[in-house]
């Protein structure tokens, strides 16, 4: 630390031990790095790499069953690892502050946001007069570029958007002008356009407040956009660190190379032949959510507005858009989990919207869904085999036939045949998603609806699952409606793409054409906000071919 200027954060040889019964003994194993003023250091790794544990250790917010077993952490000249509990309380907030991943759960839902920012000031600076606190709150809200701070101070967290909540969190973190801000996946739960704004905000605040940021992320796009220094972690160890240009363009470690290779990038499929036939045709679909309490007023939300499209046999149609744009509502409508207000859904010559009872039941198997969260889409109490044969048996297959077919499907999706006898918790996220795909295929559907099937997975797993989709399409040849928020993924897998905004399809067309020559301003906005478009990740050549 002798070299000037002294770093704000220096982590030296940090080790954190895990309780017994885990796959390794150390969650963090001999990690060292530094964060300087006006610098954004990105800690990147897949789930289980120990990056979040490192952040928690720095804040001294480790879970009780994790203990620091070696090394030291120095924040702004003060050793955190040996500090007393009271001193730590003073340090948190004043010298270091944390921004969490999920801005909805990190804010108190029953407290006005202005009050929550003020609370930080009141606790750490009790002598500060109330008027000054109020003024400072407004100033902070201005700093994080919140519109109309005067009105927003009185809002409750549920009344503002996700991006605004994250800004409030950042304002709270900034309240005492800490030297170090630790942000744990601050943009993962946000839409791409919001993410871009928040990342820009970090950069801006850094120079203004002269602080340092430790940013934890799994997204190389984020790294290439904002990082001054990158630390790549795997299994609790640092595998590589350095300037982003160096790490991203010329990675020296195999793991880094593999990770970067797995980052989705724009890559278009060969043009899908025009077809007059369609397996699914949706015309002028409307869906309105009504909430009506016993006494209260009615509230109406228009989730789908005149949605019209069709899918040809063997074609994959992508649906992209930000959260709240109606993507998932569309899926629910097609699955008949929600009943459409108006419009037709035509499959095999029949209008689904009017089917009821026995007819609806018969039709069910023609559309199957793959869900976003593989951890929630398999019944944890039932063996995989039981989940897999449930549907076919319901439709009259014998248990032995269904089981035989389930075994074949396991092999088809790249799992062992004996996987059927095991419970879901014995599988990783990627494997679970494979099981879910097999479950959908077991019903022999004509159309598969995949709702963000890879967004809960690590990038390397993401790439594998996408590859599986591609293989299965070639082998079996089903039609698919693929919902995603990531345009890069959409470009890899979709023949055509529909862009949704506020319940409407604003643009629809062949993927390559639509991404190269976007007509609608919203499509352009989405494309511009896609992370990692700087030439670091996209090699110059692929960039040219992509856009």
């Amino acid at each position: 630390m002798s070299r000037p200027p002294a770093p704000i954060l220096s982590v030296e040889n940090l080790s954190v031990s895990l309780p017994s019964g885990h796959d390794r003994t150390l969650a963090v194993d001999g990690v060292s790095f530094e964060v300087h003023r006006r610098q954004i250091v990105c800690l990147i790794g897949e789930s289980g790499s120990g990056k979040s544990v490192t952040a928690s250790a720095t804040m001294s917010l480790l879970d009780k069953n994790l203990t620091i077993s070696g090394g030291k952490i120095v924040v702004d000249g003060e050793v955190v690892t040996t500090a007393t509990a009271e001193r730590l309380c003073e340090l948190r907030g004043s010298r270091m502050a944390m921004v969490f991943q999920e801005p909805l759960t990190a804010l108190n839902p029953v407290m006005r946001v202005g009050q929550q920012i003020a609370e930080v000031l009141q606790i750490h600076k009790p002598q500060m007069p109330a008027a000054a606190v109020q003024a400072r709150v407004l100033e902070l809200m201005n700093d994080v570029r919140l519109p109309k701070p005067d009105a927003l101070v009185k809002a409750y967290p549920h009344q503002i958007s996700g991006g605004q909540r994250q800004r409030i969190m950042i304002a709270m973190a900034l309240a005492l002008e800490p030297a170090l801000i630790i942000a744990d996946e601050p943009t993962t739960a946000l839409d791409v356009t919001t993410q871009a704004q928040i990342l820009r905000l970090f950069r801006e605040l850094l120079t203004k407040h002269d602080s340092g940021v430790l940013l934890i992320t799994h997204d190389f796009g984020v790294v290439s956009d904002v990082a001054d220094h990158v630390v790549v972690m795997r299994h609790g160890k640092v595998v590589e660190s350095g300037a982003p240009q160096q790490v991203l363009e010329a990675p020296s470690h195999e793991y880094t190379k593999a990770l970067i290779g797995a980052v989705p990038r724009f890559k278009f499929r060969p043009t899908f032949p025009e077809s007059r036939k369609s397996v699914l045709e949706v015309r002028n679909l409307d869906l309105v959510y009504r909430t009506k309490s016993l006494f209260g007023a009615k509230r109406e939300t228009r989730a789908l507005d005149q949605v019209t499209f069709s899918i040809a046999p063997g074609e994959t149609l992508g649906v992209v858009g930000e959260s709240g744009s109606g993507k998932t509502s569309l899926a629910k409508c097609l699955m008949r989990f929600e009943t459409a207000e108006a419009g037709d859904i035509i499959v095999g010559g029949r209008d689904l919207t009017t089917l009821t009872g026995e007819n609806l039941y018969k039709h069910r198997r023609t559309i199957q869904m793959i869900f976003q969260d593989p951890y929630k889409s398999l019944n944890p109490r039932r063996r995989v085999g039981a989940s897999l044969i449930e549907g076919p048996v319901q439709y009259g297959a014998s248990v032995t036939d269904a089981t035989r077919r389930a075994r074949d499907l396991m092999e088809l999706v790249g799992l062992k045949r004996d996987a059927l006898e095991r419970f879901p918790h014995e599988f990783s996220g990627g494997q679970r998603q494979r099981i879910c795909i097999a479950r959908a295929l077991a019903m022999e559907p004509t159309i598969i609806i995949a709702d963000e099937p890879v967004s809960a997975l690590d990038v390397s797993v993401q790439a594998q699952v996408l590859k599986l989709f591609e293989e299965l399409r070639q082998k079996i040849g089903f039609s698919m409606l693929f919902i995603t928020h990531d345009l890069r993924i959409a470009s890899n897998i979709c023949d055509r793409v529909a862009v949704m905004q506020r319940g409407r399809i604003v643009e629809i067309g062949p993927t390559e054409q639509l991404f190269r020559h976007p007509q609608h301003s919203y499509t352009r906005e989405l494309l511009a906000a896609t992370p990692g478009r700087s030439p670091v990740v996209e090699s110059a050549q692929s960039q040219r071919s992509a856009l």
Binding site: L18, H22, R24, A27, S47, G48, S49, G50, S52, V53, S56, D63, K64, N65, L66, Q101, D184, E185, G236, L294, M335, F337, Y361, R364, R365, I367, Q368, M369, F371, Q372, D373, Y375, K376, S377, L378, N379, P380, R381, R382, S387, E390, G391, Q394, Y395, F423, H425, C436, R439, M443
Partner: protein
Amino acid sequence: MTSVEATSKRPRGFLRQLFSSRPVAIGAAIFLAIILVSLCADLVTNAQPFQIRPRMRLHAPDSSFWFGTDALGRDVFSLVVFGGRLSLLVGFFVALVSATLGTVLGLTAGYFKNVDSILMRFMDAIMAIPGVLFAVALVSLVGPSLASIVGAIAFSEIPRVTRLVRSVVLTVREESYVKAAESMGIPTPLVLFRHILPSCVAPLIVQTTYTFAAAILMEAVLGFLGVGFPPDVPTWGNILANGRAVFQRGPWTIIAPGLFLAITVMTINILGDGLRDRLDPKLSRNAKVAA
């Protein structure tokens, strides 16, 4: 996020792990002992709880009458042990009846949106009636019997179970695996039974133990008020009621059944707390950091 993965892992030695919790083990042991003693009442007592001994009225506890005798000269220990049979039976049936009906109603209310608000307003109405009042009214109307007393007590316990089950159903209903089952055309009763009910079992077990304890107490209250079983039938409430008149001369007539009642209810509650900590960590006060 962290390496400590949050999987809902079901450990292999489930029962063994359950009983490795001290409250569960102790509670279960004492509770079993109480049940055994009541079942083997003929063996552990002199088997003559109803024998009246006019010359031994209000005999103080000694080696032949462990808990003394009551105003009629009956052995209080025998009375209490025999009385436990009926009290525990009432507790058991109330727990069973309220858990069964409450589960059915809770599943219905939680899963079918259109019946939810109507059904739950009925439950609210039941909860608004004081349980003791209702039980007193019903038992005096129909006449005391095991069925009427169980019914009267269970009636006011049902809404609690219903609310509990409904709350679980409301969250589980939205899980993707339930949606997946629906999309595979699994009939609704089967979805409820296969995919939703198992998630309700843990909180149900916990709630049932509390109901059990509450029912035993309630039966004692009814007996004490004189509207429970006929006064010559030994139950803890009746023994307490009989002892009330002679409390100053023979305090043991109240202390002995009171003690048994208190210990039983406390054990069941400790057992319930222990089970809750084990089965339902989210509700636990001394929950460990989410593992």
